[in-house]
Amino acid sequence: MDCALTPEQQQLRQMVRDFAEGELAPAAEALEREERFSTELTQKMGELGLMGVMAPQQYGGLGLDTLSYLLIVEELARVHASHAATVAAHNTLGVGPIARFGSEAQKECYLPDLCSGRRLWGFGLTEPDAGSDAGNSRTTASLRDGQWTINGAKIFITNAATTITAGSTVQCVTGTDASGRKEMSCLLVPQGTPGFTTRTMKRKMLWRASNTAELFFDNVRVPEDHLLGTRGMGYKYMLQTLDSGRLGIAAMGLGGAQGAYDAALAYAKSRKAFGQSVASFQGNAFKLADCAMQIEAARALLYKACWLKDAGHPFGKEAAMAKLFCAQTMKLVADHAVQLHGGYGCMEEYPVARFYRDAKLLEIGEGTNEVQRLVIARQIGCFESA
């Protein structure tokens, strides 16, 4: 395994860090307070090339490797989780499925605008009554006279209701297969299709500057060619998409942990108590040492999963491990970071308060901690008889 960064990867990491510190950090507190998605900052990220990182160049993407993409997400998350979420969801859930499974016409139609960040695209999987149990989806689509008719609802869909959202990929039940199981398929539903409405979800505890939406489908009709890939492959597409998506969420955990740690270390070194720096008390020093160790381990695990993916090896188990470990690392580090800040850590003026809130979503989104353990347990053979 070779995880040494190329000069270009080092440079892009520095560029994203400079951008995040220069543009996102000053805006974060107000956006969080007002629970506002910034179109301006999102499109700036698009101009920097952050919105179609792995998509093929012929459709406006950059065709880069997974590690380059994860470095971007990590550096954004080090400063502001909401913007990292916007970028991660757009790349892996918005652009990803169309780039991987879409027809030539679909790619040409949607990808240039999506890769440039002029427009965003959602991925509608979770439903009010189907989360981890995605097979229980109830949103249906039936094909008649060359048109799909969609009915149902989706919830917690990132980037799906901004003013620059162009549409969403929607997982639908399109029938039952021979053994009576639900046949799942993905449909591309453009914004503004009659009967398709979206509503931004407000009063979130975390990721307050990212857009999270509910989608409603009331006899929504799209042409037959809006089917993504092959009919009946929806469930498989979803699993493959989430394997990649998990790496993005893991990078958010790694970056968030790094950001909380950087803030905690700087604060603990400058804050004095009983005539010495707070960091120099052994109880605190050991906490910071643990944080540094956890972050290094998280980074090694994530980069390894990423290397497996780019080398064409199976990476599902390692992706689940990295996602789980990075999420838990951020939670632990953010907890220590708030503790080291004392009362100030409870104030939103200090970013560690935000890191503490934001950490929780990483244990839930794109597969809960429990689902990751299930994936790992399955892969190590826990559920097979000897």
Binding site: M15, F19, G49
Partner: protein, 256 residues
């Protein structure tokens, strides 16, 4: 037309400087190297004229091998090609300016931008020396630029003492020192970083450029500013404190 940009790689201003044992240099182990911030304004100024003047932008740096990182940053921002000048032995501002001037002349650049000074040694000499060697006019500090309508010259605003602005009209060739406020430097984009890989980055040797010119200044020793001495605490009743304070200010510090 060709536009030259002079950049220097410097320690990030947040770096804690540690001197080497012999005092002639700094420990580079933990230094984060960045493009001199004033040079970012220079790169941006050149890139903004790249289109309007149909110009090729060539970025130059005289520095060690690691200076390539700074040149790549300039290429990623949009400069067309880069030249690193390698010096076997340390050069002063005079020799640096001479080497750069010869390289610029050979490249065919007619307009040169650079930061008004580098934030490491703060000498602020190289641009003027380059201009002197080339016999070109120089505006050492510029905070506004406008290219003439016919693309035959440039109007430059130079802040002078007392809030006065000097307005300088220049033809080409010319050398311009860039100050904060001139523009907002762009971030290198991801496509820019990838394209930079393919752009030419060549190396020249300072001894080939300098001919017989040698440095006038030889660095002997760096020293760090002395640690701030501990404060002095005066105690006693108010009359006594006042008396001690006056004694101290009058007899020791000699300010009253």
């Amino acid at each position: 037309m060709k536009i030259g940009v002079l950049v220097k790689q410097v320690p990030d201003t947040a770096t804690k400087i540690v001197l080497t044992a012999n005092g002639r240099g700094i420990e580079e182990g933990n230094v984060k190297w960045v493009m001199n911030p004033y040079d970012e304004y220079a790169v941006e100024a050149a890139l903004r004229l790249q289109g309007p003047l149909s110009a090729e932008v060539v970025v130059f740096s005289l520095g060690p091998a690691r200076a390539v990182e700074t040149l790549r940053m300039a290429l990623a921002m949009g400069c067309d090609r880069a030249v690193r000048i390698h010096a076997e032995t340390p050069l002063d501002a005079f020799a640096t300016g001479n080497a750069l001037a010869v390289a610029i002349a050979a490249s065919g650049c007619e307009l040169v931008f650079g930061g008004k000074q580098a934030v490491d040694d703060d000498a602020g000499q190289v641009l003027q020396i380059v201009a002197e060697v080339l016999h070109w006019p120089v505006v050492s500090v510029a905070n506004q630029l406008h290219v003439h309508a016919g693309n035959d010259g440039i109007t430059v605003h130079r802040p002078a003492a007392g809030g006065v602005t000097e307005v300088v009209e220049l033809g080409f060739p010319a050398v311009i020192g860039c100050d904060k406020g001139l523009n907002t430097p762009r971030y290198p984009s991801l496509p820019g970083i990838m394209k930079a890989k393919q752009k030419p980055l060549t190396e020249q040797q300072s001894r080939d450029l300098l001919g017989g010119v040698s440095p006038h200044v030889v660095l002997q020793q760096f020293s760090l500013p002395p640690d701030r001495p501990a404060g002095r605490k005066i105690t006693g009743d108010p009359e006594n404190v006042a008396q001690q304070l006056v004694d101290w200010l009058h007899n020791e510090i000699k300010v009253i």
